[in-house]
Amino acid sequence: MVRAIKQRLKTFEFTPYLVLGLALIILVVFIVYPLSKVIFSSFIVKGDAPTLRNLTLDNFAQFSTSTLYRSAFFNTMTVGLSCVLFSCLIGIPMAYFVAKTQTPLKTFFLTLGTLPLILPPFVGAYSWILLFGRQGVVNYFLENAFNFKLPDIYGAPGVIIAITMSTYPFIFLLTYGALISADPYIEESAEIMGASRWRVIRTVTLPLVIPAIVAGALIVFMRSVGNFGVPAILGGNFYVLPTLIHFQVTGFFNLNAAAAIAMVNVVLVAAAILLSQYVTSKRSYVTITSTTQAARISSSKLLKWIGTIFCLGVIFFSLLPHLTVIFTSFTEGWAGTRYPNKFSLQNYSRIFEIALVPIRNSLFLATTATLIASVIGTLLSYINVRKNPGGSWI
């Protein structure tokens, strides 16, 4: 009996369980515990002891009583949906022009189209202020030269524009990929049956890329309702849920209320995920075939020119903040004066005086995060695939 147990222990493989145990600990310590604490505290009113008896919905009730809460909720929805809408309005035509027309500079557009993803949106927001703010250069110029006043950048329009300019690449790139990989004969078959170009786009091309558009829209929605930096800078009195959380934490140190708002935000995103899954589950199809023929390109010269102008416009407008950032980095004291008047490399030389610590921090954080994530990720996926110890759902 004892020998049998010893025998089993000898052949028993501990490694998978060890690694899984490790994963479990990481999961509990870094995800389950803080998350459940947030959830729990969202049901407790500030100042009350965190016990089961004190559980209440008071924090959530704010959404029906407080106008600030209510407007923040609707503002968040407005920002999320508008950003999705405008990202689609920019990204889908751009994807069509690059994938399906003779628009030149395609690699240029594809490369620069991904750039907005790299720059943090709130840096972009600063640039927008620099350009279009109340003291902004463009505004100043237009007012002086043409006596023309642009609408205020602060508030909803500014927030939506700044976020959209950094999220449209999701729609653009995903739609482009779907357009490129779709079977070109499907469009030709519609054409030979008598469909005009516009009808082919409406009844065949667009429906075929809808799953890709929905996937992109979901990312855009999540990014925009979760965005803190842009509304914090450009929002002014325009509160959205993330800035409201910040307001509650720094203003009143009401962590419980902040937790409740965060919960609402999470539910909003979860609802979006469910909705997109519902939409795509009904229409998921792979049209990729063995044909090696590339996507058919429209020979229309008109579309070529419209496409070129459109893409150039979008790229210019979306990279304007980036250009401004680069430009500003070479100026001294701009943003204090009307126009930049002094150029130098002073900012760069100062980097090493003042920014050495931040740079080191950034590099350190990035490196360690990558290292830890890749070690744990590799171990886990190896065990998961090769050993299958049960409980791989984690």
Binding site: D183, E188, I192
Partner: protein, 378 residues
């Protein structure tokens, strides 16, 4: 199909050429192709891949712009009309059904564009789906259908709006062998019932022979020969066509003329062609390449049979309807394998046995020796 001899020409292709240009080179896909396609016939473009058959079809459809030449349909200049106004039905190799639409909507697509009434659309769709024998599938999506069913829906979709012209681009190449044979008969039946002028593109010569009224054999962007399946098979105008269509034996020989032609082979053997074809009787050159189909030859167990070529049986293949013998003969000390098809097994002949091979002169042909290079290229 002699009745088509009198039918009028509907589609006339004249001196069609197409050059594909890229940054680095250019490819002449079509070189002076001229074809006349008659009303109601099933006309096949046959050739190896890259011969220009699909390019020709795509020029007719309007997906490719010809570099030169004209395409004339019943007096209209086709090249100035965009594809969606040509009133053509087309079946693609990948079927290209709309994956997001039901079978009914797939078939109704062309009718909706033509703004027919709801009742008429339903009537027509039902009728054409019944014609291809798939009544039960209307509500399904294309991905729920088998390859053969998708193929028939693609055909129904192309025919439902009564096109003036039907184009089929290798419609059977994605099906398995047995279904391919069944479907080509179906296509023929449906085409005859719809009485629609059809251009059919394939690289499969057996498919082409069985389905077509007429065939154009294409090679390297040019038309090698146009004719009925019988003509193409029995009277090829060049070694290239003879070799591409069906099985063929080619033997180099010297021609002596008496009352009958006597062919001397490299092995020193001689065959006197009795009852030979006009082609052989009128052949005027000294050297030639004898072309004989396997079924125009005969095997004799008597290795010393006069007027024959001696050889040794290497392989015997039982193909059901025929038995194919691979016989090795010696030409110029070099072994050459020839194919002989017999209706049934020849008694007392097995693998390794010496045999005599007899040639039936009525169907044999002589080609000039300079065409030998066509053989080596293929």
């Amino acid at each position: 199909m002699t009745e088509h001899e009198e039918s009028r020409v509907t589609l006339s292709i004249r001196n069609l050429s197409k050059v594909f240009r890229s940054k680095h080179d250019q490819v002449q896909a079509l070189n002076n192709v001229s074809l006349d396609i008659r009303e109601g016939e099933l006309f096949t473009l046959l050739g190896p891949s890259g011969c220009g058959k699909t390019t020709t079809l795509r020029c007719v459809a309007g997906f490719e712009k010809p570099s030169g030449g004209t395409i004339d349909f019943l007096g209209q200049d086709f090249t100035s009309i965009p594809p969606f106004r040509r009133n053509i039905g087309m079946v693609f190799q990948s079927y290209a059904l709309f994956p997001h639409l039901s079978i009914f909507e797939n078939v109704a697509y062309g009718l909706r564009i033509r703004k027919l009434s709801r009742r008429e659309i339903e009537d027509r769709v039902n009728r054409i789906i019944a014609l291809v024998g798939l009544e039960a599938t209307q509500k399904r999506k294309p991905s729920e259908l088998s390859g053969g069913q998708q193929q028939r829906i693609a055909l129904a979709r192309a025919l439902v709006y009564d096109p003036q012209l039907l184009l089929l681009d290798e419609p059977l190449s994605n099906l398995d062998a047995k279904l391919r044979v069944y479907m080509r008969e179906e296509i023929r039946r449906i085409q005859q019932q719809a009485k629609v002028t059809t251009i059919y593109v394939t690289h499969d010569q057996e498919e082409a022979l069985s389905i077509s009224d007429r065939i154009a054999v294409m090679h390297a962007g040019k038309v090698s020969q146009v004719g009925s399946p019988d003509e193409i098979y029995e009277n090829p105008h060049s070694i290239r066509v003879a070799d591409f269509i069906g099985q063929a034996n080619f033997l180099t020989c010297t021609v002596q003329r008496d009352a009958d032609s006597v062919l001397s082979f490299r092995s020193g053997e001689q065959i006197k062609m009795i009852n030979s074809s006009d082609n052989i009787r009128n052949y005027r050159e000294r050297e030639g390449i004898l072309f004989v189909r396997p079924e125009q030859m005969e095997i004799s167990a008597d290795a010393n049979h006069p007027n024959s070529l001696r050889g040794e049986v290497k392989v015997i293949l039982y193909l059901g309807s025929v038995v194919r013998y691979y016989v090795e003969i010696f030409q110029n000390q070099k072994p050459q394998e020839i194919l002989v098809d017999q209706d049934r097994r020849v008694r007392d002949v097995g693998v390794g046995d010496p045999v005599a091979v007899l040639v039936h002169g009525q169907e044999a042909k002589l080609f000039p020796t300079e065409q030998r290079k066509q053989l080596e290229k293929m």
